[in-house]
Structure formats: C-alpha cells, structure tokens
Amino acid sequence: MNELAIKDLLYKLADDQLILGHRNSEWTGFGPILEEDIAFSSMAQDKIGHSLAFYTLLQELGEADPDTVAFTRNANQFHNSQLVELPNGEYDFSLIRHFLYDNAEIIRFEMLSQSSYEPIAKVATKLKGEVKYHVLHANTWIKNLGSSTEEAILRLQSSLNEAIPYALGMFEPSQYEQELIEAGVYAGEEAVKAEWLKRIQAVIEKTDLKLPDLATVEPKLGGRYGEHTEHLQPLLDEMAEVFKIDPTAEW
C-alpha cells in the first residue's frame, strides 16, 4: 500500500479532531448552561485524545512526534476540513457544526474499523464507541431545540444554512481516494457522505428544521489540500503559544 495515501488519510482524520477539539475547548467556562459547558469541554478532551491516537500512528510511519506535528505546522500544512476551523459563533452554530461533524465522524470510524490497514482499524474500533456519546449528545439537542421555540428554530435553521457548504467540504476526496478504496483501507468520501445524509435527515425530519437543497449548495472545498479560511492561523497561533515559549519543556 502506498504509504503517502495512508499518511494523507491519517492527517485529515487527526487534524479534523485536533482543530474541532480546540474549538470545543473554547466553550470551557462559557457554556450556556453548566451541563453544556461540561459537555463541550469533555468532547474537547476526547477529540484531542483521538487526534493523538492518529498522530501516534503517523509517528510510527516516520512522521515527527505528535507535539511537533500538532504545534509547529502552519495553516497551509493542515488537512482539516474548513468546517472545523470556523469560529464557534453562538451556541446554535456550535451545536449545528457538532451535529454535522460528529454524524460524519462516527461513520468514518465505523467504516475504518473494517479497514484492511490494521493499525487504523484498531484505533477506529476503539474510538467509535466514544464518539457515539458525541452523536447522542448532538442528536438529542437538535431534536429538542429544533422543535422548541420560534427563536431556537430560526437560529438553528440559519446556522444550518450557513454551515452546510462547509459540511459538504468534509467529503472532499483525497488525491488517493481510488487507491484507498481499492485496497480496502477506506470506503471513501462518497460512501461516507451518502450514509451521513441518511442519518442527519432522519434527525432533521423529527424537527421543524429543513435541510437546504444540497443540489444548490456549493461545497467549500480546499481544506484537505491545505487551503483554509482566515480563521485557522489565529487558532494555531493561540494553540501553540505556550508550546512555542519553550518547545523542550517537560510537563
């Protein structure tokens, strides 16, 4: 198997989780209610832990150690989708992004747990159980708020409309797509997207929200190839601020 293809896959998985983990951590101390503060903080810890598991696989393939990889790259070296780097906005936007992202991530993990590349299959098998909690959390809140007050519905609908082009960007195929599919490493983005649509529609149908007509939505692509919004570099600068004061410090 082409090692570059595996590395590309690992980087996009790990980078999505690291960046969304960081965004989730920005809710610590600011959640609209205590339980949500704790939820986003816990998901932050999970996501960053999950990114570490994938960066560790990259290290085993000869890449730098996880801290170096996480803290010393510039925005154009990150393979995350643009969806995860967008600022948190208000709670409705963070919730919608969490819903759109985690429903895709769990499908990736379910499919990767069957991967022919055993190290990825082992990690995915473990992590899919943990992400289940993230999905349960997102779906419960979308169902509750998405059929509650007029303001809640309007806010969620507006965030959904705003996030959808970026969410479609999660499924930007890699340059190694066909190779990974043929080798049985990964079922590929089209397969993930088809299943994702079914699952998010099943939740949205139980609310007063409407999924925009996807045929008219232009996906925000580029993230998987290092093209990012202006929001990523400031996030990276902040994330690495302490590390860069003394990269050799022992914690």
Binding site: E36, A39, Q45, G49, K122, K126, L136, H137
Partner: protein
C-alpha cells in the same frame, strides 16, 4: 516471589485508578495481558479506558513503579489498542467498589449503546430506577451525570462504553 502471571496480577491489585482510588487497574479491566519470558522478562499489556483520559500515562508509570518496588526491574509496560477496553471488562468486585464509592457501575450490555440504557440508571445511593440522565458527560471522560427523583440527589455513573 515466584514470577507467575497470577502473582504479577496480585501485585497489580495495588495499583488504583488515580481518580477512583477504590478501583484497581485489574478490576477496571485495563490490564489486558501479562507475559513472562523464559529469561524472566515481564511484559504487561495495558489499554486505555477512554483514549483522551489524562490518567492513563500516570497509570502506566504507576504499574512500572509497582513492579520495581517488588524487585521486578526486567519489565516492559505497553499501552495499546490491541484489545480495546469496554465497560463489560469491569470485574464484579470492581462494580461493587464503584457503588460503595458512590458511582453507579455501568450496566452489562450488548455493546450497542443507545439512550435507553443511559436514561434510567440505578441510583447508587437508594437503588431507585426513577432517575433521569442530566448529561452524558461529567467531571471525567468516563462519567455521566444523573438525578434521582426518589432520594433527590445528583449522582454520577461510570458510563457504559
């Protein structure tokens, strides 16, 4: 002490979860294997409960310290996902200790997680099932928070995974 798998596991009973000090790592189910080579090299395999758990590194060092305290210097402790942890791996003794500590033990389940098994967790204080899930997250990654409508107390569950 003779170097046998059973004796090593007995030693490791001393090592507790730093966040739940009544629970040994053996009862927690994170010690997945002990091998002793012909040259008396001891290999302990471990696996994390939750991948992001910050206590795992501490637990690994604690296993190493405990082996050394008992004169076993020829050792390797490996943390991996080879045999991934799930909450069914908690021993019966571990479940009892959790309840005594005030944490509802996770139910034994078919490993298909849904809201139903989280919604009416048995209260560790009064054994009522008239309880509500407040949030599937808690003060540590492995805990969820619940409210008992009978004894009117918040409680935490070591959550099923």
């Amino acid at each position: 002490m003779e170097l046998t798998k059973e004796n090593i596991l007995t030693l490791l009973e001393e090592v507790k979860d730093p966040e739940i000090p009544v629970l040994s790592l053996v009862d927690l189910g994170v010690i997945t294997g002990v091998d002793i080579s012909d040259e008396d090299h001891v290999t302990v395999n471990m696996t994390p409960t939750f991948a992001g758990c910050p206590a795992m590194d501490y637990m690994k060092k604690d296993v190493e310290r405990t082996l050394e305290k008992h004169g076993i210097t020829n050792h390797t402790v490996i943390m991996s996902f080879d045999q991934p942890w799930d909450s069914n791996k908690l021993s019966e003794k571990g479940r009892r200790h959790l309840k005594e500590f005030g944490l509802a033990p996770p139910p034994k389940y078919d490993l298909i997680l849904d809201l139903d098994i989280l919604e009416h967790v048995k209260c560790p204080y009064c054994d009522s099932e008239n309880t509500d899930l407040r949030t599937p997250f808690g003060p540590t990654l492995c805990r969820s928070m619940h409210y008992c409508n009978d004894c009117r107390q918040m409680f935490e569950q070591f959550k099923p995974l």
